[in-house]
Amino acid sequence: MRAQFPFTAVLGQDEMKRALLISAVDPSVGGVLVFGDRGTGKSTAIRGLSALLPRIRVVEGCRYRCDPGANGTGCEDCQERGRSGSLPSTWAVVPVVDLPLGATEDRIIGALDLERALTRGEKAFETGLLARAHRGFLYIDEVNLLEDHLVDLLLDVAASGENVVEREGLSVRHPARFVLVGSGNPEEGELRPQLLDRFGLSVEVKTPSDIATRVEIIKRRNAFELDAAAFLDEWKSEEEVVSAQIASARSSLRFVETSQQIISQAAELSAGLGTDGLRGELTLVRAARALAALEDVGAVNASHLKQVAPSALRHRLRRNPLDDAGSTVRVERAVEEMFGE
């Protein structure tokens, strides 16, 4: 495997990077969808994110990396053990799991462990990608090309936060709460509306047209290809800064104040744009709060709301399916009307 291009070295694409950082701070925001041109650093940024994520505490010996602090939400095994006292815990890295397009169903949800069954006659469950992604990120590149029957599996699990396996005589249920991150190129095809709705934030990326930016991107990429180790070294301090930023934002998230005014502004904005359901304003408030935590300010203000509104709302508009650029513009206009420009 090649070394990973550092997240912080991805130039421009601020909205995408912001959305990814927000989802790293508060997973309940509900995932990020990145749609746009090829070669804009979509996959690079997402794959690079894993290096920045602070480690998490997990129950020692738990194959699903349950959270020792949140009893009652873990796997059956941990709940059982948790009743008889506190669980031993250890540190683990946050998983960023890649779901390749050619994956088969059994690898996604998990299946009978063939090797143990054949050699020892044991009936054991072999965890799938969903289990591996628990408490982490599940990344699907070219998400709009994913086979429909795999999308169905994902939708179900992403909605319930639990993976229920009933196959080959196995009956297993385990928690599978993950941040769904998808990327794709709209020219290849549209995304199913149900799946679109599962993403908390949606970002549009465009190739930068400014020559200076383009030259700098190519230069960085070239430097990385020539000597990856030296390049990573050069960006090490930058990476550490952002990593620390995420860690501190995570711990301060609980203390960020969200005033009644902000909540009603978010509601007004969503209602004015005619978004379906309440998920839009919920995401909007959560994302604004995560952004406030990232910026290390104590309370959510209008500027946070303004920054995250396009990402949180643009894919929720009851849109004319033929209107390609319209949603972003509509959100921006609504934001301008509300806060004055």
């Binding site: 495997m1 090649r2 090829r38 070669g39 804009t40 996959s43 890649d98 779901l99 390749p100 397009l101 050619g102 994956a103 088969t104 059994d106 690898r107 996604i108 299946a111 009978l112 462990d113 063939l114 090797e115 069954a117 054949l118 050699t119 006659g121 044991e122 009936k123 072999e126 990608l129 590149d141 070219e142 090309l145 086979e147 029957h149 080959e168 005589g169 709209p186 020219e187 290849e188 095809g189 549209e190 199913r192 190739t207 930068p208 047209s209 400014d210 020559i211 383009r214 030259v215 700098e216 991107i217 190519i218 990429r221 070239n222 020539l226 000597d227 004319n320 399916p321 033929l322 390609d324």
Partner: protein, 543 residues
């Protein structure tokens, strides 16, 4: 020429290089890897089998007829190219296998066909038009040993900031939006320098990169843009000292590169650009036999209990999984150490496939002078409403327009309705009405889509006033009879059609034509969008 070129290439590669062909119908288990059935049954435990992409690591993969790849298949190649590895998540295996390979994709599409899927095309740096090559240069300076040495030196070659800057500016001047292109150009410049034994890439290498990578990707005719480039130069200042010393030299290199690009943009490309970038559809695709053999009956959606045969294929993994828990009980008492897996008939599982229910709707829009005069705008509105219907059903759509310039495939089948809408808005109108040619083009496309396993329907919008024959002769009578004859041929194939009459008064000929086509006839009512929408609602059930 193709074989000669390939032989020449193989001559230059190190002797031990692996070279393999990827057939079009390659399945995921062979491409990406999976369970090795024979070895698994023999060993009594799962054994992984490498896929083609992993086997080819360090070698060259040849994909013939790459234009026939689906976007999903192409993305598997693209992902391996990006990562330099194959990530296997199949059949109970989780593995990452190195897969760094060179991909040679042969694009045998004819003019007007979509070509290699964009997802792959954009990732392949070099494009060679073999039709343009008459003889292969026998360059004594380049041989196998030189290539080997160049490979070793590749990572030591320095590409200066000047060269990078110039390549980016040239790419922008050529209207290449994607950043992948200049990125690949830098790589090619580096390789070119390594081949020539240089430690620093010079102007010649930059020129080579422009010729091979950037020029074939040009999207704008260069004359219009080269003049505008100078204002964007001040950007150097932002980079501080590193760029300053080289400023005076930089300008000439860029100009030179742009000149080079101008000289080597393929003439046919320019022609296409001048005519508005549209793809002209001419002739039929005489490759029907090959697609038929690769057509899949449906995609796997799961497994079911059952016996193979009658079209059902054994699902090996699931069968093994079912049999697995019983192995201890079933093991031959006489030979307790046998590793053989005992499978009974009741364990057998088969693939359940779903017939592909995808639909392609082909819109054929009359953009002739007479039509434009009448109700072209309303016709476009009607198509938009139908497009919205297609979006709900997740259909693919294609767009053909016909006017004095002939029948043109403006949009090959796509699921991107935003593109369809853009194309629709840009249809130029005017000229005669080559209706027969339009019906022919629609039929060719419909036939091709059907061979890919799609259900096809054709929506024809016209005012029913054909006046151009296939050979370009004018004449109402002849054009009408040609159109009717073409329609009867289409009807014989049983392709569903809807004809929307856009003339002010319902035209007699249009309904005759609808009958010949076996199409539903719908006169576009004279009214506001709502009545139109209602009419379209009726019309959409025509399939």
């Amino acid at each position: 020429m193709r074989d000669a070129w390939l032989a020449h290439l193989l001559d230059l590669l190190p002797k031990e290089s692996v070279v393999r062909r990827a057939p079009l119908h390659i399945t995921d288990d062979r491409l990406l890897g999976g369970l090795d059935l024979a070895a698994t049954l023999c060993a009594g435990k799962p054994v992984v089998q490498k896929g083609l992409l992993a086997e080819i690591n360090g070698g060259i993969l040849i994909g013939a007829m790459a234009e026939r790849l689906t976007a999903a298949a192409a993305s598997r190649f693209a992902s391996a190219l990006d990562l330099g590895a194959v990530r296997l998540e199949r059949d109970g295996f989780t593995q990452t296998m190195p897969a760094r390979f060179g991909l040679i994709a042969f694009d045998e599409s004819l003019a007007g066909e979509p070509g290699v899927p964009a997802i792959l095309r954009e990732r392949l740096p070099l494009r060679i038009d073999l039709d343009e090559i008459r003889h292969l240069p026998k360059d004594a300076a380049v041989n196998r040993d030189v290539v080997l040495r160049a490979r070793e030196d590749l990572t030591k070659v320095v590409v200066s900031a000047d060269v990078i800057q110039s390549l980016c500016v040239t790419a922008a001047a050529l209207g290449i939006a994607s950043l992948l292109a200049p990125l690949m150009a830098v790589r090619v410049a580096r390789a070119s320098a390594a081949l020539a034994g240089r430690k620093v890439a010079n102007d010649d290498d930059a020129i080579a990169a422009v010729r091979m990578v950037l020029a074939p990707r040009a999207t704008v005719a260069i004359e219009a843009h080269s003049a505008e480039e100078s204002p964007s130069q001040p950007s150097n200042d932002e980079h501080g000292t590193e760029a300053r010393g080289s400023n005076d030299r930089q300008q000439p290199l860029e100009n030179m590169l742009i000149e080079v690009a101008k000289a080597c943009i393929p003439p046919r490309l320019l022609e296409a650009l001048k005519s508005g970038g549209g793809r002209r559809s001419t002739g039929s695709n005489g490759k029907s036999g090959s697609t038929r053999s690769t057509m899949r009956r449906g995609r796997p959606v799961g497994v079911a209990v059952g016996k193979p045969g009658a079209g059902a294929r054994v699902h090996v993994i699931e069968t093994l999984r079912t049999a697995a828990p019983w192995q201890n009980l079933r093991r031959d008492k006489a030979r307790p150490d046998s590793r053989r897996v005992v499978v009974r008939a009741s364990d057998l599982r088969v693939h359940r496939v779903k017939q592909r229910s995808e639909t392609t709707t082909i819109f054929v829009v009359d953009a002739s002078g007479s039509s434009a005069l009448h109700r072209f705008g309303e016709a476009k509105g009607a198509v938009e409403l139908l497009l919205a219907e297609c979006y709900v059903r997740r259909d693919q759509v294609a767009l053909i327009a016909f006017s004095g310039r002939g029948a043109e495939l403006l949009l090959p089948p796509t699921r991107s309705l935003a593109r369809a809408k853009r194309q629709l808005a840009d249809i130029p109108g005017g000229g005669g009405t080559p209706l027969a040619a339009a019906i022919d083009t629609a039929f060719e496309l419909a036939d091709g889509q059907r061979r890919r396993g799609q259900t096809v329907s054709v929506v024809l919008l016209t005012d029913g006033r054909p006046n151009l024959c296939r050979d370009g002769r004018a004449g109402r009578e002849a054009a009408q009879s040609e159109a009717v004859a073409a329609s009867i041929a289409v009807r014989a194939t049983g392709i569903a059609a809807l004809l929307i009459d856009t003339s002010p008064q319902a035209s007699q000929f249009a309904s005759t034509l609808a009958e010949a086509l076996g199409a539903r006839y719908l006169a576009l009512p004279h009214a506001d969008a709502q009545t139109l929408a209602a009419a379209v609602q009726v019309g959409r059930n025509f399939q």
